[in-house]
Assembly symmetry: C6
Homo-oligomer: 306 residues x 6
């Protein structure tokens, strides 16, 4: 086992962070067409779905894809007349569409998003927040787990989601009109929502909503094999275990095992840990602290990896 | 599908933001006459009504209209003697009536509205908040979703709504008397209000209240067709679906589908998405996470778009 | 209908804000004599009463009146021996008694009232709050809706209401002894008070309390006619409606319609709106969102304006 | 009735505020001896008792008295051997014992009491809080309504109340040892205390406690006559009313009428208001908003002032 | 009775505050040996026990004693082989072991303990908090009533209580390793603890715990006589009363009377107050506001001081 | 008994704090292999387990071990092919892997972790927080008791735990990509978790989880003997007592006695305290305030140390 040598860290300017390598993403349905239609019409989008089912990967994939001047084939036959055209008149230069991701939490203030004045030397300097940066750069702004945000954050995005596409920067007495490529994407996990933390209708009805779920077994096995490096048999067994664990959800398990955890299990197996032990630490103990549920998952693991 | 080229963003000074193009607004009743009477008498107004029924559009339309030196025809026959007169002695120069919109939320402080001192270089500079800007510019100030505001915000507007029309700027030891054209408009959605977040009588009895609802089917179809570009048949089907979904409100649906969502569905259809899929993501999944309600809306969609 | 031309706003120094024109106030009982007796003895006063029944108007009227060196006739016969004397030895120069109004709310801090240090250039400057200004100027200080205030505000006024008449300015290590003309007036609406927001006895027993209610029908009609410009018949009908709506208070209406709302209705009628529609938006929808109560008020309106 | 001419306000340095005129105080029992014994032994004291029963007056009286180099006669015969001696070797110069009063509330921070750094010009200046001033000046520090204070305030005074008599000024890394004459006095009203706001034993057992109550009828009448200027018959009637109102305490009245309110009533009567009306606004409406209780007090008033 | 002349206050640097005079402390058991063993092994200690039973006195005594280069005799025979040796090779110079006491409360922040930056002139200066001072000075740090502290304070001390003995000063990006003599002592009163304010196991299991209680009657009488100056008969009577009052604890009394209160009673008696009156204000009224309990204590007092 | 001479304290830069001496750690199972596999694959790890069972020791041990260029033998036979290889091509120079430990608490803000601007002289200086330091230094970052952290802290680590390994530093508009050796480790104690303070699935499913428990009796005795210096018989008796106390957990004891407490008991015994008294203060009183439970533990102690 090699202890990796520590390299220097790297640092990026937020609005210059582009997805430069094509992310590995396997589409499950027509989500790519829906996203492209919404983007063309500047309709903001909500991604609904459970933890670790690929929402973040999808927004990275779309941000990479929309920046490429390639011809894309639409899968939807009803819309075949508008498909198969170049996405950009100027094919020679790919459009670097920035992706700005903001993890929402209950202490995120409006100033955190829009910006604030900072004292520098003998004068104050305005520092744009990530949302202002996204608005100015005309990029995709991805607000992860929006229901965690405080109300001021949620309300702040309202004028950005109607025909005005405006961000009020009240501390500067200014209104920012979003650049052409700007689009707001929210993610949220309806499984979590308590009555208190629900997304208000005045917010949610400003978006179309695409629902996501874990991929079907074959696609998930393909993903696990690709991402962890295990052989396709092991990957299929892991996908099978994932499926079975998710079925426990009605039997006391808060949330099913994510695709990410199955990949972790695969990575540990690749590293020489036995499959059962790998699944114990990467799946079983990772999803629950309840000893009864743990015993059930242990049995599922034994039945899959006999 | 074309990925739009990102243009530069634009920036405005808050109190110089005028509605320069006539907003598309289809009146449903005598709301224009009521607003004009209140404005002439400097009576503050509350707009009550559900999410996305057009309250914001209406205040934009009125702010545009009141700035135009045109002859307007009153629809109310009882008041015909005061109608049909020029709105302004000086017809040659349209009056730029600023519209200042403030989205209220529970973290909005009095300083956010009135202003604050900021350090700049070696001195502090006073920065007017949007409410002070509206008071000074003599514009329309639209406080959206007022019940979300903290009590200090709500109380702050009291002296602006009685005969004094005064905004105390306590940090400067100053009282601002509002310019002639200033008017305060609040919006709120009575459907949401819990006992805790009700508008206090000491506040609400300082305003007259105009109640809004979704437009009737024919007017809504006209709006959907105009705003999304779909043909009038599809628009009528979408309006029909909107009507039917709103009737579900007693069957577990928190809030009916807004006109905005029907326009989104129209835009997706224009973009090549099938009507049923467009209604699923733009209406069904957008209004609810409840699978039982989703199935009902699915059936409604099938019955409209057979 | 004329869109008013917007004039420049005006700005005042808080402690220089005097009531210069006699406010229109119709006394209902001996409230003027009580106030004058309290003022002469420097006894602080609480005004109790419902929303919009004239408490603010009364304090403005008294502040104007006490500043006038006129002979006043006492209405109370028992006290006739002390009445009918000039209020000021020096009749030639009216005493400008400042009126400082502070709308209380739960976020109002002691610093908001007393003052704070602000950085200006390379030094900090002390800015007096409105209460310090009132204490120094020897004016009337009107704390509106005191029960909304935080405890620190309420406690702050204690030393101002006993024989010491002192305001501690702790950030400056200073005690301010109020000028001769200073008097503290609180308003509060007992109808609102929850157990949590009650006025503590240690505070309320520092004041005498005058209870206010809506004026009787004839006086209210007189006020509505004067303030809105409608004829006395219409004004009487509006006053009758006000009375009837207030009787609904036991039937689900939170608070009765204020005199102010009746004036609004009058103003809309003057502007050409039909009486029933005017009462709908200015009274009915303004006081309630409950459709059942709205129907009752609709019927009351019809019965008054047949 | 004369509107008083407004004089200039006066300002004092907190620790230089001495009681220079003998306050009017009528002792009810041996409270003076107890206080003097505690002061001689540097034992901190709690005053317990209802609103407006004279606790503040007593601390002012003692602070005046302890500053006078007079011979005092002890009432307690057992201690007669230590009585009747001059209080100060140097009789010629009265000792100015400062009295620092701090009204406690739930937003009072430790910094408010101890002090804070303020920016002044290009340097920060430390400003002592009132407690530090009292400790340094060796005066009497009176914390009014201590149970309202936050825990940090309450804990702050602990080291001042044991043998160390020390105030930690942590922002300066400093400990202040109190001057010789320093004594801490707390007041609190056990009638108010909820379980949440009780004085902790770790605090209360650092003090001896003197319980106060309203004075007996004759003494109270004497006080009312002296303070309001009414004749002794009226004063006795007011004291009788006070007694009767206090007996209502078990019948829905939160707190009995304070001596202060009876004085207010007397002052209004002196000003020409009839006794019944004076008692209505100064006693009845001042102590309750409950109409049933108000009727009972009205009857009591009628029976006293037939 | 002499009113003491006020002397100048004195001021100390926190970490230079040593106990220079031997505190009067009467050991009850082997607490001195336990403390010395823990100190030698650098094991942090919790003192558990009721209000005013001598915990603070004990930590002062130990801090004085550990600083003295004297030979001490161990009382525990099993450990006689390690006893009776000089505590310091260099007997000539007593080691000044600083004692830093911090009264915990729910508003005490980590910055209050560790330190903060302050602006001074044109630069910021770091000011060590009392905990940093104790760590650097290698003294005894006594956190009084630890359960009152906020969680950040409690967690802050964790790395100081394991083998690392480290205090992270995150604002400076620094770790402080405690000097040799440093030891952390907490006090807490288990009688108070609600479920909410319990000491977490992750904190309490970092300490050994010594339980304290009020001293037995004879020792307490000795202490009362010594500290108040009363004769030994009176002292014994007071100790007897303390014992009896503590037995009332099951009959509605929150906490028994502390030794400190008995000393107060003694001091008042010395000052000429009769024993019964002294016990009323120093014991009875000091421990309870409940009239029923007060009557019981009154009877106990009468039976002791017939 | 020697009072230790106080030496000067030492101070370290956070990211330069390496474990330089091999920590004493006795492995219980395959935890070392699991950790090494996770580290090689950059999979973040959660340590679950009770108070004081050795989680902190283990992370210190692994941080020391991963920094050593030694050949290690894998215990897992299935992975023998990847074992027994040098961990670093350059054997001559050990890799100093920093260990940054952060004790989480509910007041820990995102700025505390990431960094903040501080004014220094006439300019503001950015000070990296410990998490930024760990990311830049490529070290192991150990967040102790993560469930105590506020939501903003928890969310902040999300982008550091997926393939991006990025820390957004929003106040600087910057993204930090973690250095090669960086790994995030969380600890938490499932026994404590209330429903309110549970680790969210969106967080926990980003980690594999290793469950820890107290070591078996023989290993624990070995540890106690090594760390306290008692003989192996006494150590075994202490381990036996630990085991018995932990069995009381179902009988009202919140948490079992940690290994650390057993070591404390051993240290006191070494210092001459009798075993029973040592166990009383170091185990019994340290784990509970409940007298009934204390009696049970007393009996267990007597049965072990007869």
């Amino acid at each position: 086992m090699t202890s990796p040598t520590r390299t220097l860290y790297r640092s990026y300017i937020i609005e210059e962070y582009h997805i430069t390598e094509e992310p590995y993403y396997v589409p499950v349905g027509d989500e790519i067409e829906l996203f492209e239609a919404a983007y063309a019409q500047k309709i903001p989008v909500i991604f609904k779905g459970p933890t670790g089912c690929g929402k973040t990967k999808f927004v990275e994939y779309m941000s990479y894809r929309l920046a490429q001047p390639l011809t894309r084939i639409r899968q939807n036959p009803d819309a075949s007349d508008v498909a198969a055209e170049p996405t950009n008149g100027d094919d020679s230069e790919p459009d670097n569409l920035p992706l700005i991701t903001i993890a929402c939490h209950e202490d995120l203030t409006a100033s955190d998003l829009v910006g604030r004045y900072l004292l520098e030397g003998d004068r104050t300097v305005w520092i744009d927040g990530p949302l202002s940066r996204a608005v100015k750069a005309g990029g995709i702004c991805y607000l992860d787990e929006i229901v965690e945000a405080r109300k001021d954050t949620t309300v702040l995005i309202h004028p950005l989601t109607d025909h005005r596409r405006i961000l009020p920067v009240e501390k500067r007495g200014e209104l920012l009109e979003a650049g052409e490529g700007f689009l707001l994407i929210l993610s949220y996990n309806p499984g979590y929502q308590s009555a208190l933390k629900d997304l208000k209708h005045s917010t949610r009805q400003r978006f179309i909503s695409i629902e996501f779920d874990y991929p079907p077994r074959d696609i998930e096995a393909e993903i696990v094999a690709h991402e962890s490096g295990v052989d396709s048999d092991t990957a299929l067994q892991l996908a099978k275990l994932g499926e079975k664990v998710r079925n426990l959800k009605e039997h006391g398990l808060g949330e099913g095992a994510s695709t990410r955890l199955l990949i972790y299990a695969g990575q540990l197996i690749k590293q020489g840990i036995t499959p059962r032990r790998a699944c114990q630490v990467a799946v079983n103990w990772a999803v629950t602290d309840d000893h009864t549920v743990q015993r059930s998952i242990e049995e599922l693991t034994s039945s899959v990896f006999e």
